[in-house]
Symmetry: C2
Subunit: 258 residues, 2 copies
């Protein structure tokens, strides 16, 4: 290995996803790249890890490189754990995840396999970024966002990240010249209203498909939803200390010991 | 239904788990109980949801009730979504998840299926609590903690919870008379050091089991780890706005638009 930074790359759409290939292409310009990515799509896996079944992880060649790649049977968080603790001999300078086919803005960060990989790296003390493009299509155009991926990654490599913080980066579905720039944001307070599509299988048994509508009633101009709707790249600093510190004082007034 | 509160109960160890049965027994004393729980263990599923496959959810009778129960093929978060949006005709007054067989203190909240159910309910605007006992055994003694489960649940029903906050409650593995009381805490800054147990299958292919050691270097007496190690029940308010607000100002000094 040269003195270029060692970069761990993963995603949740699977190792052959065009979004991952675009991310690898950018990272090859910056450092020495090791890919440890799921062998199949793992979207909406949240922060699942594999503890009750076995994990497979094998070298694989998808294109001409120069990155080194491993295909893993586990979740995005598994890929990071395996990459850091088993595959890599040296600690990576950064871990990048994505580029996800579809949004991980607002409350979607909670369900996101892409972001769970970044958070897992953050827990292990490695600077980490999750990248997502607001386009679910397999043929989404990732060319428009490559410059931003590179700039944001170089900023993290140069500045580091605050302790306990990783970045959630989302790109609007726009042409390069239509993107107005990058905005640091907070997560919009939005949610999904679920609708279950109830059907009957050929054996007469009922089953459901989860569908839903995304509802954003948070119109703050400092949110990721506002930035994306207005042509900006959103960057949200995400923490994994989930303590609601502001609520502790109130809970201490409760009668929990009576 | 009577005028007693409607209580949605779920877990991640599966619908037959003794910890769930103990939780149902306590909730039957408080209100009208509907159980929507996974048909098989879902530990470490994080906040996974099922979007690429079908969900089954059927009425089931496990014991003499009086609760009404449904067994669901999905994750804990799926169970809450299905329960709230498809099974229940009325909005529940509270959602309780657990009692988990094993700890969900500190960073484990991130990986926890038990807590993902509580968080999902919180996102839907329903007061929610996840309960966990620091004993992984299927035969763990849940009798010792039933009083605490009831007191904490009644406090939440009476006081409500701050907007965007759910509770993560962990019980030490002690006899009733050894438990010193309840403490409101912050999540300890701890982490896992993974160790992968690499083996070879009968076909000659390598595979891994994830194992690891839990490292807590956070010795603050206001943490859940301290409370549990010192004989207290820990109550951590957990939020699902993951924005690291304190980091926004610093990130705004970066050169992201050059």
């Amino acid at each position: 290995m040269s003195e270029k930074p060692l970069i761990l790359v993963t995603n949740d759409d699977g190792i052959t996803a065009p979004g991952l290939r675009a991310l690898i292409a950018v990272m090859n310009e910056i450092g020495d790249v090791i890919v440890v990515a799921p062998d199949s799509p793992q979207s909406a896996m949240g922060h699942a890890i594999t503890i009750n079944s076995t994990l497979y992880c094998s070298p694989i060649t998808i294109d001409d490189g120069p990155q080194i790649e491993y295909s893993c049977s586990g979740t995005p968080a598994d890929c990071v754990k395996l990459g850091v603790n088993e595959i890599l001999n040296t600690r990576p300078a950064i871990c990048v995840s994505g580029i996800n086919h579809g949004s991980n803005s607002s409350i979607n960060v909670i369900y996101s396999g892409t972001m769970s990989a970044a958070v897992e790296a953050g827990i292990e003390g490695i600077p980490a970024i999750g990248f997502s493009l607001l386009d679910y299509n397999w043929e989404a155009n990732f060319e428009a966002v490559k410059d931003f991926v590179k700039t944001i990654t170089l900023n993290v490599l140069e500045n580091g990240l605050p302790d306990g913080v990783v970045l959630n980066v989302n790109f609007p579905r726009l042409k390069r010249e239509e993107i107005k720039g990058v905005r640091v944001c907070r997560q919009a307070k939005a949610y999904w209203v679920e609708e279950f599509d109830k059907r009957t299988n050929p054996q007469g048994r009922h089953y459901y498909w989860l569908t839903g509508n995304f509802i954003n009633e948070d119109h703050g101009e400092d949110t990721d939803e506002w930035a994306l709707a207005n042509g900006y790249v959103s960057v949200v600093p995400v923490q994994f200390d989930l303590t609601a510190h502001h609520a502790i004082q109130k809970l201490n007034t409760w009668k929990l010991n009576e």
